[in-house]
Subunit: 202 residues, 2 copies
DNA sequence: ATCCTGCCATAACACTGTTATAAATCTCGA
DNA sequence: TCGAGATTTATAACAGTGTTATGGCAGGAT
């Protein structure tokens, strides 16, 4: 009944090596030979296990979404649903900045994989959708299709994170843009300004 | 005093060919040999004119930002500054969707070269900044640093455009997300809800 | 035991950006 | 006008990439 402590799964090893090298050396480290050496195998494993580099990169992206889901899942759920929503945005940003290269791979369409619209992405989106639905059901946000509400929030978070990572909000004093952005958006979605700002202050 | 009708500038020819091939064949068409053939020269021109492919790609990105600036500049300027702002968001989206691959190159999402914080990007941002400042000065938006106001608007626009291009808002009924997003954000930034929605209806 | 299937290591292929070399072209001052 | 110097270009080669061919190896089913 006992498993090997480290079942040598070349596929998982490759993904692990890819994520590690991605964090340390950046996207240009996602190369078949380099990953094979790091995983202690040869380039053929990339093909017998994944069929090619694009599929391996997609597996990396899946793992990235899994990490994002874990971050969002750990975001608190209190009696102030709007505060929870704003905190979730902060968790989203934190996860993206801590795994910046991975985040780019998750949304990057790199010529072969066309990384669009993955099932894992929709799972992560589900957490945001749930938090938004709570706010609507609680009457904090106007009645509106939760899908479009969550889509607006996701757009804001995603856009802010990418621009911050690109350095556009670097050191020019435009700090705390994300809290303002999400708070203002929540106000536009129907929450009372004072209540929203109080929730943001938490 | 008369110029040649078509002064054969290999540098400009390469950028033109790059932008054309980018639109037709996608990012994987940005290759030295392919561009050289399309521009009627050889790969060495890439190095004598630009110093390498990364520099050429950055020139392409500059041209992309120039097109974006042209689109934003053409956005109307009426007596309803908030309506102008919302229309500018629509123009931003339109430009991005009509040049989707170019848009990705502008922000370096095609793994080629970490395109961060270009001067041309800041020029385009200037148009948004000006439109936001008008709204603040006109009293439609709350007094706040125009930089952070424009940063919030840009984040929303950028994020929405990328997610739409990735297909996440594909056909699942989440239509008209951008107008709602920008309108709601403007409300959160201080505009009266009815006035904002009236401006959006224009 | 035998065959078979899947996986892996080595090496080769086609392709990429880049560089070396030499010829062609342009620049510009005498 | 000219001609030396500098720049650009075309050709070919180099180092690197993803991918594919070719054997060899292990493990399981019959």
């Amino acid at each position: 009944m006992s498993q090997d402590p480290t079942p040598p799964d070349a596929g998982a090893d490759l993904v692990r090596a890819a994520i590690d090298l991605l964090a340390e050396r950046g996207p240009q480290a996602l190369q078949a030979r380099r990953l094979a050496i790091a995983a202690g195998t040869s380039t053929m494993a990339v093909y017998s296990r994944f069929g090619g580099m694009p599929e391996l990169v997609r597996a990396v992206a899946r793992e990235g979404f899994a990490r994002l889901c874990a971050h969002l899942k750990a975001s608190p759920q209190t009696d102030d649903c709007v505060a929870d929503l704003l905190k979730m945005a902060g968790a989203y940003r934190q996860n993206a900045l801590e795994n910046r290269h991975l985040y780019q791979v998750m949304f990057g369409l790199d010529e072969s994989g066309a990384q669009s619209d993955t099932a894992e992405g929709r799972t992560a989106f589900g957490y945001l959708l749930r938090a938004a639905t709570r706010c609507i059901d609680a009457g904090r946000l106007d009645q509106a299709p939760p899908l479009t509400v969550a889509a607006q929030l996701w757009s804001a978070m995603h856009g802010y994170v990418l621009l911050e990572m690109a350095g556009y909000f670097g050191t020019t004093g435009a700090t705390d843009v994300l809290p303002s952005l999400t708070t203002n958006l929540v106000i536009g979605l129907g929450d009372l300004p004072e209540r929203a700002r109080a929730s943001a202050a938490k």
